[in-house]
């Protein structure tokens, strides 16, 4: 075996240009597979980060009617839905996957929030508790947050985010100004923003629909003030923050289970988690499906590379008939001869595979720099490609190897 590998390197080295050209096919095939798979996984990682928010693993658990969120502003809430209070939160934070939880009310802000003639067309009003800002990772840009007396005295104060501030105050500082919510005056005490980790980029219509209700503009008021604005028995939602992105699904499901246990009857209205991770996965599947076809195309170039290897090995067998004949005369059995050519094909493609990985990683890096997609090399894929290229070599080396082994030693010797 050692001798075979030595002869393989001898053979490759003695025809440097030819070997390099043969390897080129393999290099291109492997490199494109690595580059494409890296781009696919990088894109998936980007989708996940954009949608789910790196480091901000919040899950919203709210009432659903069937597959759609129940909007209590115009939909009937069934009798069996009982009013939720903050008393349920200790049960929820007791879940292993849940780090923190907040109980809140929400409502579409359409045409409800005004500052003089300026109105908010798009956005959401939240009635929140003292955990809401922390759970969502919101930080103040200016002004102050809610104080305990804001909650206890049901004060008419509001926190708004950047989008609302720009719509209503056109860039001026909103702090201590008054807005009208459903006809009632509320004092804006501060402006908040998402903490730095969450920076969504919208690149498709799918992204857009997933984001709008999350980033369309938020107005927060104390949850205790909520009933003065809207109905007393409005159902509440719960926002939980999971320990990690991968725990989000489980955190949401368990929270929904606890909330559903408060229902006094059953029907198609149930608490469900709005799982952004699931949505991210759907988007990932969409982008992977298109890119996976590219992998097939890249595989074809690897196939062509393999045929190149076979071609050159056939030439090599013809060239070395004398040597093959001599080895047979000296007592090399068939297996030894075919083993030599198989090894040479395997070594050729393995070297091509390794070079292909280097080129592929380089390509992935370039793609990442140009398109902004994060680079994501899976060593599992890299290992699989090397194995695959060697398999290609052995597969396409088999025909020449068998041909070499079958050579008649006399013919082989006579030819020189």
């Amino acid at each position: 075996m050692l001798e075979n590998i030595r002869e393989a390197f001898d053979g490759i080295w003695s025809h440097k240009l030819r070997s390099a050209l043969t390897m080129l096919g393999i290099i291109i095939g492997i490199a494109s597979i690595i580059a494409i798979s890296s781009t696919i996984m990088g894109t998936n990682e980007q989708i996940k980060q954009n949608l789910v928010g790196a480091g901000n693993n919040t899950v919203e658990v709210t009432l659903y009617q069937g597959d759609y969120p129940l909007d209590s502003s115009y939909q009937q809430v069934p009798e069996y839905v009982t009013v939720l209070t903050g008393d349920i939160l200790p049960d929820i934070t007791a879940i292993d996957e849940v780090e923190d939880a907040s109980l809140y009310y929400r409502r579409d802000a359409y045409e409800m929030v005004w500052n003089g003639a300026e109105r908010l067309n798009q956005g959401t009003i939240y009635g929140v508790d003292d955990r809401f800002m922390a759970v969502n990772g919101y930080v103040l840009r200016s002004g102050r947050g809610f104080l305990p007396e804001d909650f206890s005295a049901c004060k008419k104060v509001a926190l708004i985010d950047r989008a609302v501030s720009e719509t209503l105050f056109l860039g001026e500082s909103p702090v201590n100004k008054t807005v009208e919510i459903s006809g009632e005056p509320y004092v804006v005490i501060g402006e908040f923003t998402q903490s730095s980790a969450f920076t969504p980029t919208i690149t498709s219509i799918n992204d857009y629909f997933t984001y709008t209700d999350h980033s369309g503009g938020k107005v927060l008021i104390p949850g205790t003030t909520w009933p003065t604005l809207f109905a007393y028995d409005q159902p509440a939602s719960v926002m939980v923050r999971a320990g990690s992105t991968d725990e989000m699904t489980e955190a949401g499901k368990q929270t929904a289970a606890i909330l559903n246990s408060t229902l006094t009857g059953s029907g198609d209205v149930q608490y469900k988690s709005k799982d952004l991770l699931e949505q991210a996965k759907k988007l990932q599947e969409l982008s992977s499906a298109t890119n996976r076809q590219l992998i097939w195309i890249a595989s074809i170039s690897l196939l062509v590379g393999g045929i190149g290897v076979m071609n050159i090995m056939l030439v090599s067998v013809t060239e070395r008939t004398g040597e093959i004949g001599l080895k047979k005369a000296l007592g090399a059995p068939k297996g030894r001869i075919s083993g030599q050519f198989l090894t040479e094909a395997g070594v050729l493609t393995a070297i091509g595979g390794i070079l292909g990985i280097l080129v592929g990683v380089g390509l992935a890096y370039v793609v990442s720099r140009v398109s902004g997609v994060p680079i994501f090399i899976s060593w599992y894929i890299v290992a699989a490609t090397v194995v695959f290229s060697v398999v290609v070599g052995l597969f396409f080396g088999a025909v020449p190897a068998v041909q070499a082994a079958r050579l008649n030693p006399i013919d082989a010797l006579r030819r020189e």
Partner: protein
């Protein structure tokens, strides 16, 4: 008796393209004999050589080597016989250009699965026997034709075979180098080696103890007029 050929026939091709090469060849060679086979080109002497060396199989007839009939023994068995019991020397040496002299000599030992250390020792001993102790690490292109043929002889002998088959061993050499090769053959013969040599040079053939002739596939004891 080391070689026994009985009614050996060899035909190439099939149907209308059949070309008979050997006709009813009978030959007995005792251990330690030194035989030369002479004949013009195309007479079938190379084919006879290939059959003797298990590089080719006869179409008909029985070939016993070292007491055994190895017809249809299979590739692995044939390879083992060639490796262990027969040494080949060719007109054009057939050395591997990318291997040093001693590595060329050790090549058959590799196929015999001899350990590396022993391979080198035996290869060196064989090279010393042909007077090339100074050239062990040389590559074939650094050696003269005569030296190359001596390397080839060392390669043939290092497995300690029972039979040395030489196909025009001096054909590619000048007369002085040819003389040296024939001197080595004489020494091997004195040591008891069985040698069968093909040549078309009378002077070379006369070094052997017994000369046979082959004409159009017929083996004769006497030269044809």
């Amino acid at each position: 008796m080391i070689i026994s050929l009985e009614h050996i026939e060899k035909t190439y091709g099939t149907g209308n393209n059949r070309v008979p090469v050997l006709h009813d060849v009978n030959l007995a060679v005792e251990e330690g004999e030194y035989i030369a086979i002479m004949g013009p080109s195309g007479s079938g002497k190379s084919t006879l050589m290939n059959i003797l060396g298990y590089l080719d199989e006869p179409t008909a007839g029985v070939y016993r080597f070292d007491g055994a009939d190895n017809a249809h023994a299979g590739d692995a068995r044939m390879a083992a016989i060639r490796n262990e019991k027969i040494g080949f020397v060719f007109q054009s040496f057939h050395l591997m250009q990318r291997r040093r002299a001693w590595e060329n000599v050790a090549l058959p030992l590799l196929y015999g699965n001899v350990p590396r250390k022993e391979r080198k020792e035996r290869a060196e001993a064989a090279l010393i026997a042909v007077g090339l102790q100074e050239r062990m690490d040389f590559y074939p292109n650094q050696l003269s034709g005569g030296q190359c043929q001596r390397v080839a002889i060392a390669r043939a002998m290092c497995t300690r075979p029972k039979l040395l088959l030489a196909d025009e061993p001096t054909g590619a050499l000048d007369s002085k180098a040819g003389q040296q090769i024939m001197d080595i053959f004489d020494t091997l013969h004195e040591q008891g080696m069985t040698i069968v040599m093909i040549t078309h040079e009378r002077a070379v053939a006369e070094r052997a103890k017994r000369i046979l002739y082959i004409y159009d596939g017929w083996l004769k004891e006497e030269p044809q007029e």
